[in-house]
């Protein structure tokens, strides 16, 4: 080999090697820390990337469990169980600041959505057997039974004092269930908590229908979020490309049962006591605020497409995707540059952008 050929060989080999080796090295450096655990009646998956990812992960899991112990309706020592136990006896029940903050946020959403979202709907949820996760408990309550329960669904009879950290339910038999907002609020608390750590990105999946994204994904690109087809859980209808946002989805497919040929699902209209039938199959809300996204996904489903879009037009704090029974997917303007929809793989849906 000539004296020039040897360095040429090594140079070429080195180039080849370095070009092949780089991507692998980058991947391992950005490997996220991940943990799965059961809390708030669901399976949660937290994925965090950054220098202090492991410490942040442990703190986040601890925080979720702490908030679960406050907000759970089934744990007898929780704030919410104690509040419910004192319903109608005139007691201002002492609660943690997080619980009064969340109750107060829930009341704001009730007022903003004209009662389409209401945390005092619990007695009606129980009458249908939803919320237990036990399909054997689902049942069709009689009209009379629902009529008797509806006076107990009344957020005006829930009094929250955020300064004194107490709350009171006016009528005996009233119950609060925070299932429609607690996970979104918890996600917001986690984002705040992660701010105390050296963390570059996080995927906070609090039970697949409530997801919060921190930063970009570990490869530095916006997170790619696929929306489930409400008519076929194996398929996805479109992709959203998002950073630093919270998402929440409500779909009629999650819990349902059939009786006498009629399908009844678990998203109940607090004003009627019956499952909301508004032509919506699923709602996904995107917002900076997880609690708002969580509450609104239920509220918009209950409100129906027209009122949902009215709410959106009157409010700049969220965007949404409405998947309708007539095969249309309505996407609000703010998501126009952030969604990817493949017409050839659309599963029969057509996409429309809704403008203000």
């Amino acid at each position: 080999m000539s004296s020039r050929a040897i360095p040429t060989f090594f140079l070429l080999s080195a180039l080849l090697l370095s070009s092949c080796a780089l991507p692998g090295g980058e991947t391992s450096a950005a490997e996220p820390a991940q943990r799965q655990f059961f809390a708030m009646n669901t399976l949660m998956t937290l994925q965090i990337t950054g220098e202090e990812a492991e410490d942040a992960l442990s703190a986040a899991v601890e925080e979720v469990n702490r908030l679960d112990r406050l907000f759970s309706r089934s744990q007898s020592e929780s704030d919410i169980a104690r509040l419910n136990a004192h319903a109608g006896d005139g007691t201002d029940v002492p609660l943690s600041p997080e619980t009064t903050e969340l109750l107060s946020l829930a009341l704001e959403e009730t007022s903003a959505t004209a009662g389409a979202f209401d945390v005092t709907v619990a007695p009606v949820i129980d009458a249908w057997g939803f919320g237990t996760g036990d399909a054997g408990q689902y049942r069709l309550p009689s009209e009379g039974e629902l009529e008797a329960l509806l006076p107990l669904v009344d957020s005006a009879a829930l009094h929250v004092d955020t300064a004194g950290n107490t709350a009171r339910l006016d009528r005996s038999g009233m119950e609060v269930d925070l299932g429609g907002i607690a996970k979104g609020y918890t996600a917001d608390r986690l984002v705040e908590l992660l701010g105390e750590y050296d963390v570059s990105s996080a995927l906070l999946n609090l039970g697949s229908s409530t997801i919060t994204l921190v930063g970009n994904n570990p490869s530095g690109q916006p997170w790619r979020v696929a929306l489930k087809d409400p008519q076929d859980e194996e398929q996805q209808i479109l992709l959203l490309s998002l950073s630093d946002q919270a998402l929440s989805t409500s779909g009629a497919y999650e819990q349902h049962f059939e009786e006498n040929g009629v399908t009844y699902h678990h998203i109940l209209d607090p004003r009627t006591g019956y499952p909301a039938q508004t032509g919506i199959l699923s709602v996904t809300v995107v917002s900076d605020n997880g609690a708002r996204a969580d509450a609104l996904s239920t509220a918009l489903f209950v409100a129906g497409p027209e009122q949902a879009l009215e709410l959106w037009r009157a409010d700049n704090s969220f965007e949404c995707v409405l998947c309708l029974e007539d095969g249309r997917i309505l996407i609000t303007q703010g998501l126009e540059d952030q969604f990817l929809y493949n017409e050839e793989d659309s599963h029969g849906y057509t996409c429309e952008i809704v403008r203000r």
């Binding site: 000539s2 070429l12 092949c20 399976l43 996760g133 997170w223």
Partner: protein, 139 residues
């Protein structure tokens, strides 16, 4: 007869045997790298069973003549069916039955969840990350 003066490498137009050797070595290096960095073949898959966060069982998925059934001692007992390179929960005493309705899973990274039991069945193995065009599914 005088030996003709040999031109310097820089002036030469025709390749010399040394250059051919370089080309050969680079080609060999490239081929070796291609072989080393080839996509991993569909590797071994292992079924991991976690009950409320604790690993309680691990079973390699192997081609077999007949399905293998594994009884899991969970709060609501259930049975796993391992059939070649796939697994499902074939029976569960749990109230929701969502885990049974999930059906078969056969790819690394897939999971079956039994919420009432706080149980996760995971397929662990080499994941084909290239084929995924999203980070997470919401819904």
């Amino acid at each position: 007869m005088a030996t003709p003066a040999r031109s310097s490498a820089a002036d030469r137009l025709r390749p010399a045997p040394g250059d051919a050797l370089v080309v050969l070595l680079v080609l060999c290096a490239a081929l070796a790298l291609l072989w080393l960095l080839r996509p991993a073949p569909a590797g071994e898959l292992t079924v991991e069973v976690r009950l409320d966060g604790t690993l309680i069982g691990s079973y390699p998925l192997e081609e077999a003549d007949a399905p293998v059934y594994v009884d899991v001692n969970a709060p609501w007992p259930l049975t796993l069916e391992l059939d070649g390179r796939r697994v499902r929960i074939s029976h569960s005493d749990c109230p929701s039955q969502d885990c049974v309705h999930t059906g078969w899973i056969d790819e690394a990274g897939e999971q079956i969840i039994c919420l009432p039991n706080k149980l996760i069945i995971s397929l662990v193995g080499e994941q084909d990350t290239q084929s995924k065009d999203f980070d997470v599914i919401v819904g």
